[in-house]
Each structure stands twice: as structure tokens, then as C-alpha cells.
């Protein structure tokens, strides 16, 4: 990586000889609660050279985001403050600056981009205004000049139709475009340091790829130093020259990226790296035999949502969320649906448990969905359970977790109260929690534990199929690895089938027996894990896989064909429908759609 940089950025020579642009010395951030001060970040020190990229990696609660806010002088007072240490920007101590002096540094010498592009821009102001005001906050230029500069900045981030974007509002832009706007805003004044706090975590993998490429290109042009805050070791290895691994407010290990990945010194770093799901070629444990009976089978399933307009609010357009999807999930297998946001994968999950109306035929565990009596619906729900992405949102905060897990039993009138409690206790132990915790409330558990509670609740009725909709996506990698292990063990033990929905190709590769890739509501490729990952045939599948950041600093990524323009919209006027993509069988159940012309 470093060699590559040296060739392209003459100014930003070897990081160790260039003068540091930012020095963090003994930084300690404390929170004051109940009259006591408690450190959240302790004694953190690092230096950042001009044009260098340093990654701060760690799991939630490691203090990496607090560190970035401290550098920006944006720690929320009065609870949080820098209690010790110095932050030197070109030999000026930022911790001792007054708010008004700090304001002149913010956005000007140090800029920041945030994780959530959807919420980081003001929804009621135009893109052009938000860009121009960032420039005018630091340079005494006219509004007209500022707008011209803003347009230039938009062009620099390679956004499509920059002139039109100036007058648009954030909600009219996709997540990737918004993150480009954030980058344009941050880099418009050519800051010395750019702090990127999980800049691509909320983005689809192909968009992530483009944004990372963009950041790297702009860094080369401008010589900006980047502090990259991320939990994704793949992103770390692709972007950073040096890495700081943080855990519970302390730097556990610090060093060049290759050293961290190839010869980690600390056991925490090793564990963290070991937990990172890696994408391979689909080899490994063979997929299950084909003789099992399907627990769920979908035939030509369509889900469309009406968009109404006009005086009589008649249907004018439809969102074609799912189009002609046919698939079978066999007993005891893990079937994964992958695709980017809006591809219809979650809609299939909802249709499968009867939460959205559908056309076509869905048969689950012997029940045909649609037009069912509520009693039939109830018995269907004994056989299919769902585990959602956000465990906190899926657990009623006012109920004890024992009640939450036992509720399905209560609804289906199974057992006496004592029997139910005993069974819930058994489930708790099975998912790795203790029976002493039954009477606690959800907020007393960590994210991983909460997801275990959700899994226990899904297991309570001994279903034949569990739909896991991004169930591990919000978890830290080490927690994620343990939850995935639990899911695999439960599958072996109870013979449960999973419909596993994820955007994370590496996780899918690790857990699946069979995989279907979705794009714009249709399946473009389906097959066993070995077929999909070892021999991807559809260009979209290939692009998805190529876009995944690889947690290996020596990895050379093959050039990825660029997506022409934005992802097309699945909204059609009434009477029109997307073209149906027929699937061809390449043998052994490897189905692939014909590629449309330029994908």
C-alpha cells in the first residue's frame, strides 16, 4: 500500500519523516455521572502525518467515536470533557482553544464525515445551501462565489448531475450520493485532517466500494490526512497505513497495517481478527443432500405496493418490490438471500410470515398462505418465526425477558405457568444465558445477549423455519461470530431451516447451504454456496463479491466495472411491469438469469 502511495503522492512522502499534522498526547475523556468522574477514553496517544491514513478500529464502546468528537471539540458538554492530555494541530493545542477559536478550526482545518448519510444532512435545506454555507463560514466570499465553489466540490466527488443536485434536498438523493455530498462538504476547504467516522457502514457494499475509492483519490490529490474510524477490518486493511486497535477506551495495539494483520501482538487483536468473517470461494463443508422435503416453497411470488395519487387517490404507480420469485427452502438447510438495500429481500421475509399481502403461491410447512382464517394463521406462526435486525426494538422494554420468551407459549396456550417457566429457563440456557436472568429487563443486556433472547423467543414454539432478517448485522464482529455459531448449533440440534437475509457476503458464505442473489425484486442467481461463491456467473453477483473489502492488506483487488449511474427504481406506472428475468439451469441446481446488456 505504502509503495503505491509514494508513487502517486509526491508531497506526502513516507509518513515517518513528514512532520506530524496532528498529535494526540495522553488523551483522556471523562464522563461525569452521579458526582463521579469516570474515564471513557484513557491515555490515548498517536501522531498523524500529512497525507497519512490511520485507522482506529474497535468494537462498540471502545471509545473510537468519542476520540473523534474530542478532536473536533464536539464532545457534548457538560457531561463529557477532555480531562487530560493534549490535541496538537500543527503545534496548536486544540483542548485549550475557546469555542469561538475552535469554530474557526472546525470544518476548516479539521473536517468530519459521519456514519449516517441519511440523517447527517439537514432535511429542510438544499444541498447547495448546505455546501455553500460551509465555505462561507470560513472564507469571506460572496454567496455567488461560494455557490460556484460548492459546485466545484460536488464535481470533485464525481456525483452525477452536480448542477441539479445543488437545488435538491437531501431526501431526493440516495445514501451513496448523500455521503458524497458530505465528503464534498468536508473537503471543500481542503482541511489538513479529515475524520471519517464509519463513513461507509450504512452503505451498500458496491456503494461503499465507490466511496472508499473516492476518499482515497481525493486524499492523493489534496494530501489530506485521514483518521478512519471503523469496526470493519476489511475497510481498515484496504484504506489504512497504520492501525490503532481500541478496546474499552484504551489503545490495545498500534502499528503498521501489515504488522497488525500478519503478526498481531495482543490477544484481543488476534481474537478480533479471527472473528472477522472472511469470504472464500465457497469450499468447505458440503451443502446438504437434496433429498430433504421443502419446509417452504415460493412460486412466482410477487409483492407490489400501491402508490396513490389524484383526487380519488387512485393507484397511479406501484413499487414492484418482489417479482416472480420462486424458491424452495429444504428442511434443516440455511438458505440465504443476499442483495443490496431495496432489492426486496426483506419483503420476501415479510411475505413468508404473512406480514405483507402477496400474489403467487407461498406454502410454508404445509400451509398455503393467503386468505387464511386467523386460526390457521396462528398455527402457521407456530412453524415460522422471525428474528429481526435490531433486538432492542424487537423486545418490549417494559416486559421481563422471561415473559418475552414465554409469550409465544402463552399465546398458543402451551403448558401450565410452571411448565412454561421451566421451558423458558431451558431455552435461556440453550442460547447461552442463565436462568437467573429471567426476571431482568431488556435494557440490562448487551446487544448480543438481546439477540440471543430474540432467538430463544423464536425457538420457544419449536418452529420448522426461522427467518433471520439481518439478525447479526447490528452486532460487533466478535458477538456476531458467537451468534452465528449458536444458529449453526441450533440447526444441527433441532433440524431447523433458516431463511437468512443479509447484505454481508462474507457472513452469508460462512453460514449458508444455498444462496440466492436478488436484484431489483428478482432473483438473478441461485445455487449452492460452492456454486455461487466458487463460480459466480451473473455480473451482478460478481460485482457484489468484488466490492467486499478484504481483511488482508496484501490483497490486490481486481478492477471493478463501474455501475453506470444510479440503481434504477422499482416503481412503475400502473399497467407496466419490469421485464421478467428467466433463470437458466447451469446444472446441479445452479440457476442464473441472463445478464441484461450493460449491468
Amino acid at each position: 500500500m505504502i509503495e503505491v502511495k509514494d508513487m502517486t503522492t509526491g508531497a506526502a512522502a513516507a509518513p515517518d519523516t513528514a512532520p506530524p499534522v496532528l498529535q494526540v498526547q495522553g488523551l483522556t475523556i471523562s464522563v461525569r455521572a452521579e458526582g463521579r468522574e469516570r474515564p471513557l477514553v484513557s491515555d490515548l496517544s498517536f501522531t498523524l502525518a500529512r497525507g497519512e491514513t490511520i485507522a482506529i478500529a474497535g468494537e462498540s464502546g471502545s471509545g473510537k467515536s468519542l476520540t473523534s468528537l474530542a478532536i473536533m471539540g464536539l464532545l457534548p458538554p457538560p457531561a463529557l470533557r477532555v480531562s487530560e492530555g493534549r490535541i496538537l494541530l500543527n503545534d496548536q493545542d486544540l483542548t485549550s482553544l475557546s469555542e469561538s477559536r475552535m469554530r474557526t478550526v472546525r470544518g476548516n482545518r479539521i473536517a468530519m464525515i459521519f456514519q449516517e448519510p441519511m440523517t447527517s444532512l439537514n432535511p429542510v435545506l438544499t444541498i447547495g445551501l448546505q455546501l455553500a454555507e460551509a465555505i462561507r463560514a470560513h472564507e469571506p466570499i460572496s454567496k455567488r462565489e461560494a455557490r460556484a465553489r460548492a459546485l466545484e466540490a460536488l464535481k470533485a466527488v464525481r456525483i452525477s448531475e452536480p448542477e441539479r443536485r445543488m437545488g435538491q434536498y437531501p431526501h431526493e438523493l440516495s445514501g451513496g450520493m448523500r455521503q458524497r455530498v458530505m465528503i464534498a462538504m468536508a473537503l471543500a476547504l481542503r482541511p489538513d485532517v479529515l475524520i471519517a467516522d464509519e463513513p461507509t457502514t450504512a452503505l451498500d457494499v458496491t456503494v461503499q466500494r465507490e466511496v472508499l475509492d473516492l476518499l482515497r483519490d481525493l486524499q492523493r490529490e489534496m494530501g489530506t490526512a485521514i483518521i478512519l474510524i471503523t469496526h470493519d477490518m476489511g475497510v481498515v486493511s484496504e484504506m489504512a497505513e497504520r492501525v490503532i486497535v481500541m478496546k474499552q477506551g484504551r489503545a490495545v495495539e498500534q502499528g503498521p497495517v501489515r504488522q497488525i494483520f500478519e503478526a498481531p501482538q495482543e490477544s484481543y487483536t488476534r481474537d478480533l481478527l479471527a472473528a472477522v468473517p472472511r469470504m472464500g470461494d465457497g469450499s468447505g463443508a458440503p451443502a446438504r443432500d437434496g433429498d430433504a422435503a421443502p419446509v417452504a416453497s415460493l412460486r412466482d411470488v410477487r409483492v407490489r405496493f400501491d402508490i396513490r395519487g389524484g383526487i380519488l387517490s387512485q393507484v397511479t404507480h406501484r413499487v414492484h418490490a418482489v417479482e416472480n420469485v420462486s424458491l424452495d427452502i429444504m428442511a434443516g438447510e440455511t438458505f440465504s438471500l443476499v442483495g443490496e438495500s431495496g432489492c426486496g429481500k426483506s419483503t420476501i421475509a415479510k411475505a413468508l410470515v404473512g406480514l405483507v399481502p402477496h400474489q403467487g403461491r407461498i406454502e410454508v410447512a404445509g400451509h398455503v398462505l393467503g386468505g387464511m382464517k386467523s386460526s390457521d394463521m396462528k398455527s402457521l406462526r407456530r412453524d415460522v418465526q422471525i428474528v429481526f435486525q435490531d433486538p432492542m426494538a424487537a423486545l418490549d422494554p417494559r416486559m421481563r425477558v422471561g415473559e418475552l420468551v414465554g409469550e409465544p407459549l402463552l399465546i398458543h396456550a402451551i403448558g401450565t405457568p410452571e411448565e412454561r417457566r421451566e421451558r423458558v429457563a431451558g431455552l435461556f440456557e440453550r442460547v447461552g444465558l442463565s436462568r437467573d436472568q429471567l426476571d431482568r429487563y431488556p435494557h440490562e443486556f448487551s446487544g448480543g445477549q438481546r439477540q440471543r433472547i430474540c432467538i430463544a423467543r423464536a425457538l420457544a414454539l419449536q418452529p420448522k423455519l426461522i427467518v433471520a432478517d439481518e439478525s447479526v448485522s447490528a452486532l460487533d464482529v466478535s458477538v456476531q461470530a458467537r451468534v452465528l455459531d449458536l444458529l449453526a448449533a441450533l440447526k444441527r440440534e433441532f433440524g431447523i431451516a433458516y431463511l437468512f437475509i443479509s447484505h454481508d457476503m462474507a457472513v452469508v458464505e460462512n453460514i449458508s447451504d444455498r444462496v440466492a442473489v436478488m436484484y431489483m425484486g428478482q432473483i438473478v442467481e441461485m445455487g449452492t454456496r460452492a456454486q455461487i461463491f466458487g463460480n459466480p456467473r451473473h455480473p451482478y453477483t460478481k460485482r457484489l463479491m468484488a466490492a467486499v473489502p478484504v481483511p488482508d492488506p496484501t490483497h490486490r483487488r481486481p478492477p471493478v466495472p463501474r455501475l453506470a449511474g444510479e440503481v434504477p427504481s422499482p416503481v412503475y406506472p400502473v399497467g407496466e411491469a419490469p421485464q421478467r428475468l428467466p433463470l437458466r439451469n447451469l446444472g446441479d441446481g445452479h440457476l442464473v438469469a441472463d445478464a441484461p446488456e450493460p449491468m
Partner: protein, 306 residues
């Protein structure tokens, strides 16, 4: 936009129809007899029957209602039983005063409520915040006739800053508008405070600060428009609350609006006036809500009316 407006107006007409039916029905089943009010206590049974026949009150409910509705469609709101004048004329003479009073009250409650809410949110947790919130609590809880009399005593009687009552100039408007608006300003200061606190915590405010914008700009341009959004819808509902308030406030300040008219009519069971005032009020509420909904897209570009 036009389609939306048309649909909303049709809905509004249906709402008004429902209101007219319910009010008419309630007045019909009411034990108070308007004929007795007109005829007086000493009238003979024959006179009473005569008047009842003249007013059509001896007809079955359906016929009475259909007749009233028929008149209404042609713009005829009927005649007052006692004042022998067209209801429409009576209301038209008094409506401007009431609308002025409501406008004054809306301005008062928004100016007071929003600014106090913003100040409290910025000073969150401090002494100023706490005293403002206690004040707003008192403002919400205080009965309007008490507030009105208190304001009259202090500002009209003791300080002589404003006239004691009457109608005609801006200074006549101040105290009644304050009285009517003070409850709303209490509400709004609390709503604005919590809305503002939410907005100040949001990501785009962090972005605005990270850009190095001045504090005032962050507050005024980035925070306030977003914080006001949930409150706009409330203004429409407010008009409904005002309608009950004007009856009291107009009596306390001798303000010649439809509140006074309604109060007199209720005492005398003057059904056409009660119906007229109720329908005009319902109209104001429906239109107020429509207006509030129409304003929202100008502040929030995400909202499209269709």
C-alpha cells in the same frame, strides 16, 4: 396539489355535514324548549302550539333537519327566534372581531411559546429552564377567566396601559389576545422545548457544528425550522380550542364577537344561532387544519401533498 386540495375540501364538506347532523340532533333531544322561551311563561297552550307550528318545530326530526339543510345549501342559515334577524347577518357582523381576536391569540402564543421553548431548550436543566417550565405549567393550568381578570386588574386597572374592555384599536386587542393565547403559549413552550432538544441532538446539527458555523446560525437556520415542524399541525387544532375560549374571553373583555352571540343564544335556546355559530366554528377548525397542512410542505420539502 390541486387534486389534494379538492379531496380535502370534499372531506371537509362531509365533516361539516356530520357536525350539522350531530348538533341538530342534540338540540332536538334537549329538554329545553325554545318555544317556551319565545312565548314566555304566561302564554296559553294554544299560543305555544301556534308558535311551535310557525317555527316548524312540530314536524318530525327528519323533516326539520332536511329543511334546515335545504336552507343551508342555499346559503340560508335561518332566522334567530328571538332577535328576528337573519343568523347570517348576525354572524357576519361579529365574525371579523372574533377572527381578529384569534389571529392575535395565535401570534401571541407562537411568539411567546416558541421563543420561551427555544430558550429553555438551550438552557436545558438550568435554573432558567426550570422556572420557564414551571411558568408554562401554570399558564397551561390557569383557567382563562382568572387569567383574564388578573391581566385586567394589573394592566388595565392598576397600570392603565390598556383599556379595560371594548373593541376598536390595537390596544384593545392586547389583553384579550394574551388571555386567549396564554394557555397555548404554555403548551407551545413545552412542545418547542422538547422538539428543540430532540433536534439539537440530531446528526445534522452535529454536521452543522462540525462545519464551523456560528451558534446563532446553527440555531436559527438549522435547528428551528426542523423543531417547528411538529408544532405547525397543532396550530390547526388550536383553533378548536380557541372556539371554547372565546366564549369566556369575549364576555370578560366585552369583545363583540361570535362567542358572546353563542353564549346569549345558548341561554335562550335560540337554535338557529347555536347551529350557525357551531357550523362557522367547525368551518374555522376544518379550514385551520387544512391551512396548517398546506403550510407544512413549504417548510419541509420531504412532504408532498397528494
Amino acid at each position: 396539489m390541486l387534486a389534494y386540495l379538492t379531496r380535502r375540501l370534499i372531506q371537509s364538506a362531509l365533516i361539516l355535514l356530520g357536525v350539522s347532523f350531530i348538533t341538530f340532533f342534540l338540540l332536538y333531544v334537549l329538554p329545553a324548549d325554545p318555544v317556551r322561551q319565545i312565548a314566555g311563561r304566561s302564554a296559553t297552550a294554544e299560543t305555544v302550539a301556534n308558535i311551535r307550528h310557525q317555527l316548524g318545530l312540530d314536524q318530525p326530526f327528519v323533516v326539520q333537519y332536511a329543511r334546515y339543510l335545504g336552507g343551508l345549501v342555499q346559503g340560508d342559515m335561518g332566522r334567530s327566534y328571538l332577535q328576528k334577524t337573519e343568523v347570517a347577518t348576525l354572524i357576519a357582523a361579529r365574525l371579523p372581531a372574533t377572527l381578529l381576536l384569534m389571529l392575535g391569540a395565535i401570534v401571541a402564543e407562537l411568539v411567546i411559546g416558541l421563543s420561551l421553548g427555544v430558550i429553555a431548550a438551550i438552557r436545558r436543566g438550568g435554573a432558567l429552564d426550570q422556572s420557564l417550565m414551571i411558568t408554562s405549567f401554570v399558564a397551561v393550568s390557569a383557567p382563562q377567566f382568572v387569567v383574564g381578570l388578573l391581566l385586567l386588574y394589573v394592566f388595565a386597572v392598576k397600570l392603565s396601559w390598556f383599556p379595560i374592555g371594548g373593541y376598536g384599536s390595537f390596544s384593545h386587542l392586547v389583553l384579550p389576545a394574551l388571555t386567549l393565547g396564554i394557555m397555548g403559549s404554555g403548551w407551545y413552550s413545552r412542545m418547542m422545548r422538547s422538539s428543540m432538544i430532540d433536534v439539537l441532538r440530531s446528526d445534522y446539527i452535529r454536521t452543522a457544528r462540525a462545519k464551523g458555523l456560528k451558534r446563532m446560525r446553527v440555531l436559527a437556520l438549522h435547528a428551528m425550522p426542523n423543531a417547528i415542524l411538529p408544532i405547525i399541525a397543532m396550530i390547526g387544532i388550536d383553533i378548536g380550542i380557541f372556539m371554547s375560549g372565546i366564549v369566556v374571553v369575549e364576555s370578560v373583555f366585552g369583545w363583540p364577537g361570535i362567542g358572546q352571540l353563542a353564549w346569549q343564544a345558548i341561554q335562550r335556546v335560540d337554535i338557529p344561532i347555536i347551529m350557525g355559530v357551531t357550523l362557522v366554528s367547525a368551518c374555522a377548525i376544518v379550514l385551520g387544519n387544512l391551512l396548517a397542512d398546506m403550510i407544512t410542505p413549504f417548510i419541509d420539502p420531504r412532504i408532498k401533498l397528494r
